[in-house]
């Protein structure tokens, strides 16, 4: 019988009341991973001993009365976060053998809050992908339908939480890599403001877009986790020195008087009918909650995918240069000259999608093309950001679908990168503008979860979580779980 409970608050209460121990919760997660992960493939590494030791420490803290709201609750990290003494692969053959000598800010922050990490989750290689099929460790299956993708790049985290293997997991979102998998697996996925959470120790994909966040069942859980992840970190120059509010304290604020903007561009022909219906129903629900709904426009939204596929590859082509076989990670067996060592190492250890993006990125930065591609893309990025600012002059937040379709079949889009890229058409704008956004489950289409996306202004995570929580108080979509989870909720 499962000891896992629907949310952190209930788990914390049970832990404090002595009804369950962190060792039991953690042991249960480890058992469920053992039982189900051969079919899901959501984990790359599992650390039973370390996890149980951390759980015992949490139990001691609980017994001594020094526990916080997250103490003793098991979770998993996307395998992009460095954790001292453990393998950090980023889903790549390149770092298959890489053991990090240090902790990322996200890992140390959540550990300090008492959460128990049971392992590292599968992901698209270097977070480049929207289906979790580019992982060197194989694709992850969607717990709602094992033939389908859980989305990506944080697909392992999403599948693990959706299947009830762990109550929560971290993710990273560069163009939708938290929100899209959350939408496709019926979870709450939060991408904070760029700079809200330190990037220190998070293996970089596209530095100006990457942001760490959470995959949880509920907005209330996300509020607690974000509190432990967010905050200034002098080791990341782009990390914002802005106080971290108590996100849980504002969850129950009323939505009366809030204005929600619905961009008409979100409801174009690309949006599947079932998704459109679920999102419209959710918008109606917000009206019931007291919010005013208003149509807005993001005229340059269509440019966000092309802009993203210039900026992100440009940055990644440079960020991934350090994987050269010299100091760590994979090095080719063959012993030719230096150029040969570089070429073979990188050819052998990077997958096709990573190579495609490195080549695209090197091309758009090269002499003679820089102005036409990279510089132009930065200008359009500003236009998209300006569109959003204009909207936020009129509304408190923007609402719409997270993805154009529910979960698609594994293999369906791998042959056509452009179709795959278009899966992120609604999520990328928030990354380009550095804005916080959240995806919450809002219905089903084809018996699969549908995600509703809320986008806020800079550092408006409190409002996003408040709006998501109010919706989750009024609906039960976030409580629905796939069969494989054994009815955790």
């Amino acid at each position: 019988m499962s000891t896992l409970l629907p949310d952190f608050a209930e788990m914390a209460r049970a832990l404090r009341a002595g009804k369950v121990s962190s060792r039991e919760l953690t042991g249960d997660c480890l058992a469920r991973i053992k039982r189900h992960d051969s079919s899901l493939n959501s984990f790359i590494s599992v650390y039973p001993e370390q996890a149980l030791a951390a759980a015992d420490a949490a139990d001691k803290a609980i017994a001594s009365g020094s526990a916080g709201p997250l103490t003793g609750i098991p979770m998993a990290h996307k395998d992009i976060f460095c954790a001292e003494g453990t393998r950090t692969t980023v889903g790549s053959k390149m770092l298959d053998n890489f053991v990090s000598p240090y902790d990322s800010r996200v890992v140390s922050g959540l550990a300090a809050a008492g959460m128990v990490s049971v392992g590292k989750t599968n992901m698209d290689e270097f977070a480049m992908g929207s289906s979790n099929e580019t992982s060197y460790f194989g694709p992850v299956k969607n717990p709602w339908d094992l033939q389908r993708s859980p989305g990506g790049s944080s697909g392992g985290s999403a599948a693990a939480v959706a299947a009830g293997l762990v109550p929560a997991a971290t993710g990273t979102d560069t163009g939708g890599s938290i929100r899209q998998p959350a939408a496709l697996t019926g979870l709450t996925g939060l991408k904070p403001t760029y700079g809200r959470v330190s990037r220190y120790g998070m293996v970089a994909f596209a530095s100006s877009l990457d942001q760490a966040g959470t995959l949880t069942r509920s907005a209330a859980d996300a509020a607690l986790m974000l509190g432990a992840m967010a905050g200034f970190d002098e080791r990341d120059s782009t990390c914002a020195n802005v106080p971290v509010p108590d996100y849980s304290a504002t969850l129950n604020d009323s939505l009366q008087g809030k204005t929600i903007g619905v961009p008409k561009e979100f409801f174009d022909d690309g949006l599947e009918a079932g998704c459109a219906q679920a999102v419209q129903d959710a918008i109606a629900e917000y009206q019931k909650l007291g919010a005013t709904v208003k149509e807005v426009s993001l005229p340059n939204l269509a440019m966000s995918v092309p802009v993203y596929y210039i900026v992100a590859p440009a940055e990644c082509s440079s960020n991934l240069s350090r994987f050269d076989g010299v100091r760590f990670g994979y090095r080719t067996e063959s012993t030719g000259d230096l150029a040969d060592m570089y070429t073979r190492t990188r050819s052998e250890a990077f997958g096709a999608e990573v190579k495609r993006r490195i080549m695209t990125g090197a091309y758009v930065l090269s002499a003679g093309y820089y102005d036409a591609y990279y510089l132009q893309a930065q200008k359009v990025r500003q236009l998209i950001s300006d569109d959003l600012s204009r909207c936020f002059a009129e509304v408190d937040l923007i609402i719409g679908p997270t993805t154009p379709t529910p979960a698609f079949k594994l293999g369906e889009k791998m042959g056509d990168p452009v179709q795959m890229y278009l899966n992120d058409m609604y999520t990328i704008a928030a990354n380009l503008a550095g804005l916080p956004a959240i995806s919450v489950p809002c219905g089903t289409s084809q018996n699969l979860p549908v995600g509703l996306q809320l986008i806020g202004t800079q550092f408006a995570e409190g409002l996003l979580l408040n709006c998501a929580h109010q919706y989750q108080q009024a609906t039960d979509w976030h409580l629905r779980t796939p069969e494989i989870s054994g009815g955790v909720a």
Partner: protein, 477 residues
């Protein structure tokens, strides 16, 4: 045909910060390989650069000192290329928006005239590591201690017209960065090095000739030699009907020649773009004002002050002011109560000779400024003569202690007791009747002979003034 030479220099000055430009690792020279490379320097996955504010302050200080524009919002960019001593696969540098913009520097040419050399820009960047080819027989070692060391690359306009001018300019930059304390200036340790862009054109032609870039020249002497070799090579090439190829060339000091490293066609496309891990460097008026307020006295002002305060010869001042440490040493000697003229003579004479002999910098002189003042004061109060002072100096240099200690232990105190000197004078006169006769016959020069004899008899300790006076009195009697 007569040719005009056009030279521009790119000087790399290693900034004298305690830690690296983007990490907390130490910049000290000479550690075991890779002992001073932290995860950031090693380019580990997930680590991020954090700008060292001290490096920014030093760059601005240089900019202010050469009257350059300070860029209010400068940007770090990535220069992408693969090399094993470049851990991240890119160097963090500045490209379109360097921290220091246009400035200028006045240099004094050999013929005494002055020339203004334009400074195009100066930008901050990180140094790379080192490849060690001679440690292992079958492979190359990488030492990343130097990786991430802050550099200020100072780029001049192509304003120099001879190798000598280029060296004068380089010396002037060297002097300024040393005065500012932003660079230790050590060429041996590689903290001050230079690339030279050299071209020639027929005299009177406005269009520039094709240039070559001479890489990494690490002494003033080699800069002059390398440029002169390259000028002659280019002229010979053109006069023989050839053309100069735009390329990078390396100077080989052993063979005294330059040779091709790579041509323009082989040059890297560095794919510069703004580094998204670093925010633009924003510098406001207050920051610049604070830097200006703490700017030390620069060579020009010091020259004027030395002339006014100390009454030294201009050649002496030029040498003293030329090296910031020497100027400071001199001032300390004077500050301890030594006569400025005597101080200048000793610092530029005995001390400089001893330093040169032992190949030492004045900063690590075996005789401290305080002890040097002590020696000069014993000359001033007639405890010892100038001649004995030389012996005392040698003893001090070889570690026998302060001037007083040496005078005491060696018994060198000057004899000023008139009776003792008179006895020696009498004996010298008595021993040398022939010379007495010569003197009396009008041969004044013989006085020197007697002084020598008296000094011999007193082991050089007799006060020379008293000896002279007594001899004169007695011989004329």
């Amino acid at each position: 045909m007569s040719w005009e030479v056009v030279i521009g220099l790119e000087i790399h000055a290693q900034l004298a910060t305690k830690s690296k430009i983007f990490s907390g690792a130490s910049t000290a020279f000479g550690a075991q390989p890779n002992a001073q490379a932290c995860l950031v320097d090693l380019g580990y996955p997930g680590v991020l650069p954090v700008l060292n504010e001290q490096a920014v302050a030093m760059a601005v200080k240089f900019g202010v000192a050469v009257g350059a524009e300070i860029t209010r919002r400068s940007v770090f960019a990535r220069k992408n290329y693969f090399y094993p001593d470049l851990p991240k696969g890119y160097q963090i540098s500045q490209f379109e928006l360097p921290i220091v913009g246009n400035g200028q520097l006045t240099i004094k040419l050999e013929d005494g005239t002055e020339k203004v050399v334009g400074i195009t820009r100066a930008h901050l960047e990180e140094d790379a590591g080192k490849s060690l080819h001679d440690i292992f027989s079958d492979r190359t070692g990488i030492d990343l201690n130097r990786a991430g060391t802050p550099l200020l690359e100072i780029v001049s306009e192509p304003d120099m017209r001879s190798a000598a001018e280029a060296v004068t300019y380089m010396r002037k930059i060297h002097q300024i960065v040393r005065y500012l304390g932003v660079c230790d200036g050590s060429m041996q340790e590689g903290s001050f090095r230079c690339d030279a862009n050299v071209s020639v054109r027929p005299m009177g032609q406005e269009e520039l000739g094709t240039r070559t870039e001479l890489k990494n020249i690490n002494s003033f002497r080699f800069v002059e030699r390398a440029i002169n070799f390259e000028i002659q090579r280019q002229i010979d090439l053109i006069e023989d009907g050839g053309t100069v190829t735009q390329e990078t060339r390396l100077y080989d000091p052993d063979k005294d020649e330059t040779r091709s490293m790579r041509s323009k066609e082989e040059a890297n496309d560095y794919r510069y773009f703004p580094d998204p891990d670093l925010l633009p460097v924003v510098i406001d008026d207050d920051f610049i004002a604070a830097i200006k307020a703490e700017l030390p006295e620069l060579p020009a002002a010091k020259t004027i002050r030395f002339a006014e305060s100390f009454g030294l010869k201009s050649a002496q001042i030029e040498t003293l002011v030329g090296d910031v440490d020497m100027a400071a040493y001199f001032e300390q000697v004077v500050g301890e109560g030594a006569d400025p003229r005597l101080a200048a003579n000793y610092v530029l004479g005995d001390l400089t000779a001893a330093l040169n002999k032992d190949s030492l910098e004045i900063a690590v002189s075996k005789i401290s400024a305080v002890d040097m003042a002590g020696l000069i004061k014993r000359v001033m109060d007639n405890t010892i003569s100038g001649k004995i002072a030389k012996e005392v100096f040698e003893a001090m240099w070889s570690g026998e202690g302060s001037a007083d200690a040496v005078i005491e232990s060696r018994g060198l105190k000057q004899i000023t007791d008139t009776g003792a000197i008179e006895a020696a004078v009498d004996q010298a006169i008595a021993d040398n009747p022939q010379q007495v006769a010569e003197f009396k016959g009008g041969k004044e020069k013989v006085l020197g002979f007697f002084v020598g004899k008296v000094m011999q008899l007193t082991q050089g300790k007799a006060n020379p003034g008293q000896v002279n006076k007594l001899l004169r009195d007695k011989l004329s009697a």
